[in-house]
Amino acid sequence: MRSLARAFSALALRCVPREWRDTVAGDLDDEALRSGRSGWWIGCQAIAAGMRLRPVVNGDVMWTDLRYAVRSLLQARWFAIGAVLTFALGIGVNVAVFSAVDRMMFRALPYDHPERLVVMREFGAQPVQAYGTLPATYVAEARRLDAVVDASMSGWNSLNFTLEPEPGDDAAFSLSQATFNTLSVLGVRPWSGRDFMEADARAENRVALISYEVWKSRFAGRQDILGLQLWNARKSTVIVGVLPPQFINATSFLNPKSDGLYLEFDLFAPTSPRERAVPPTVRLKPGVTIEVAQAQVEAMVSRLRQTEPALPPGRLPSAIRLTSLDELLFAKYNPYLWLVMSASALVFLVACANLSSLMMVRGRSRERQFAVHLALGASRGRLIRRALVEALCLAGAGGAVAVVVLALSGSALARVIPPVFSRYAAGLVDLRVVIALAGCAVAGAVVAAIGPGLRAGRVDIIATLQQQGGRTSSRRLGGRSLLLVEAVVCMLLVAGAAATARSLVGLLTVDLGYEPRALYGIGVFLPPLKDPAANFEQYMKVESVLRSVLGSSVASSSNALPMDGSRPEQLVEGLASGSRYRVGAGLLNTLGARVIAGRLIRPDEVAARARVGVLNKSAVSLIWPDLTPQQAVGRLLESKGEAPFEIVGVVADMRDGPRGSGHEALFVPLDATKFRFVSYVARTADGKKPSLVAVRRQIKAAGFEPRSVSIGDFAVTQSNSLRDDRFRAALFMTFGVIALALAVVGLFSVASFEVALRRREMGVRVALGATPMALSMLVVREAVRPVMLGAALGLLLAFWAGKFLQSFLTGVDARDPGTLIIVAGVLILTSSCAAWIPARRAARTDPATVLRAD
């Protein structure tokens, strides 16, 4: 620290003119020795002394101008605060957003030669929609093509791993399955340890590579991480390496929860000709275009299809196509990112307009001061330099506050940004973006600041000093034009905020058909027994155990539920759509299904495996379009090859998400002969998530050895599905509020300036009998006029621009006239309030004082 203090003091002494440097150094040393002061004190005193000496010794007026600018801004502190906040908000928020968007839209993927990476997918008769898998033999053959270096697969399956064989309540690590050559195809090397090897795959050694971020955060960067074992379903997996920082697996861009990769077996050796694999990431050889590689793939597929069974008549063959990885990952998000960037650019425009308006107003309010300086002999260059120094001081202060805003907005952005973007959002600031944005803002401020100085040379000094300047209307035009621009932009942003907020509120309040709060799904995987009845019986016993732990709300179902979007069985034979769900006693009750007609399945009916069923409303409309739900109760539902079901009740459709629509569903009692496993749902009385440790302990105490136990939260799943909508609403509302705040600051400044400019006119009006209210209304009316015009233009623009926002909204019309009119009203009302304070000042004009001053 002492050497740092000495270095600081030596550097600070450079501020002192050379002729006095030794003097000041000797005196400060003397005092420091006597009073025990540190090098830091010497440095600060040297800077202060240097600032005083420079103008006198060197004729260095820059220091004088700097001191003058600081003093002047402190005197006009409200103007300074407004300008600094405008600068900070305009720069700080936008740097965070632009940096994130730039990384996503314009930066190359973080792999070696990413332009040579493509993804091979199978497309059906509808060419737009790709299948989730393709024949595994195609993948194995593709690796041998001339155009291809290699192909890898990853990210289709994730497992949760824990540090102990018996998992506790601590968060598990989610690792994605990968082939041994995943990193080599991407051109990435591990940060430490080793990569997967083909020998690991052949020997079926379960090995893992954990992410750098997990190594640092969950393992505190421990050096002995290599060789550590992770566990899943009591099978160990050895950590052999750490992935490089900010590594994203190519096909896991949409799954940010991946904490690393694991390798289990060789996926390139299909065990059957019908086996399917996930779309591989393929690295093309240098110089090979996608078209050339596509031709080779098509030739390969033609050759392989000669050995495949013939397709059924009328069925068209699928197509195998290559798509650039970059296009696949980000193409569908580009409209989203353009929307975000456009909104951010609009806020930046408002900030620049506001800053320019403030500087212009400030400059014009000092015209009299400039006239005095000119009369005393100052040159126009000196006036311009002073204005420039003041603008740069504001820019410096604004930049310092912008850093704070940037830090806050970066962390806020990370909390609301959708997972697919979250790894790009927080922590990284692009210097190019900072320079570009700060440069634009500073340039705007400087031009606006030196404008009055440039004009000063043409000003009639005598006339200005006598306050008989030129027509005031021309001087007000610049500020009003900027207000109009700000009002238009505000309309766009606030209209966007209103639309996205309405969409989000609509999604949050949609009727899901069940109650997800305090509802948990419990998955228990027991070793299967050969006898189906015995197998079923053990699951029913586990249900009893869970009831003893969690209460009577526990219920079971033999397959998936409507709210997870699955379609386990056909509703009835011959019906085009719809699914059948087999449920245990009380399941629909536990889910909170809303009964529209009749009743739910009784426990005795479940125990007796009675032929009863509950339909949802969509199923009734499909099966009996002419019947109401009430009329459907009691009817028999026929199904080919089995006894009919008596419909005992109708429930509301259960959606698989706020955006989903309930599809047709039939709920029937659990059947011991028709299940593979049973899962449970429970609604806890206190709303808290059940303890995994406690549940597992009770199950084991009852004599069972579950292979895995997991607990999922329905409410969290639903909440996560709305993360994109929440982000959009938060983004637009933040931008809308910032734009509105900036517009208010701008309007306040312009109105204040005009009131100051028209003091004499106000005095004359009062002398002629104008009331204070009349004066106030005059000021407000004239200040709000450009805002009203801007709101009208902005309304038309928002109506046109609504089509770009519509695809991101649910259940809301972006062009709703009512909403747009309300937004315009809010803007005008807010602006009127901002103009009211200077209006009240005008109303207090004393004509005697004002007119006497002439």
Partner: protein, 115 residues
């Protein structure tokens, strides 16, 4: 009466020159500031002191020289100041101007207050 003397000292310049006069060969910035603060009750900033000395030296009222470095480890030389003849003359002129102007006022002849 001497002809009107247009070259009078400012208030701070007077204080600085008087402190140089009183301290003699020991006149450098640090004790000068301390003396002015103690005797005149005026706290001059370091920058003001240096700026005033710079002006006085330019006008030819004081001269300066660097002493030997202090006899401590890392000790630096001090810049001392001495009054020159023109400086003494202008100081006397400024003082006399004040005395002449205060003739006939209570400052020159304090009035004995009644008991």
């Amino acid at each position: 009466m001497s002809p009107a003397n247009t070259s009078l000292l400012g208030e701070v310049e007077q204080l600085v020159l008087l402190s140089v006069l009183r301290l003699g060969d020991d006149a450098y910035a640090v004790p000068m500031r301390e003396l002015i603060a103690a005797e005149a009750g005026v706290s001059l900033s370091r920058g003001t002191m240096y700026v005033t000395l710079e002006r006085l030296e330019r006008k030819g009222f004081v001269t300066s020289w660097f002493s030997d470095p202090q006899a401590v480890r890392g000790g630096k030389a001090r810049r001392h100041f001495r009054l020159k003849v023109p400086g003494l003359a202008v100081l006397k002129a400024s003082q006399s101007a004040v005395v002449r102007l205060s003739r006939g006022t209570a400052l020159a002849h304090p009035v004995r207050s009644a008991r």
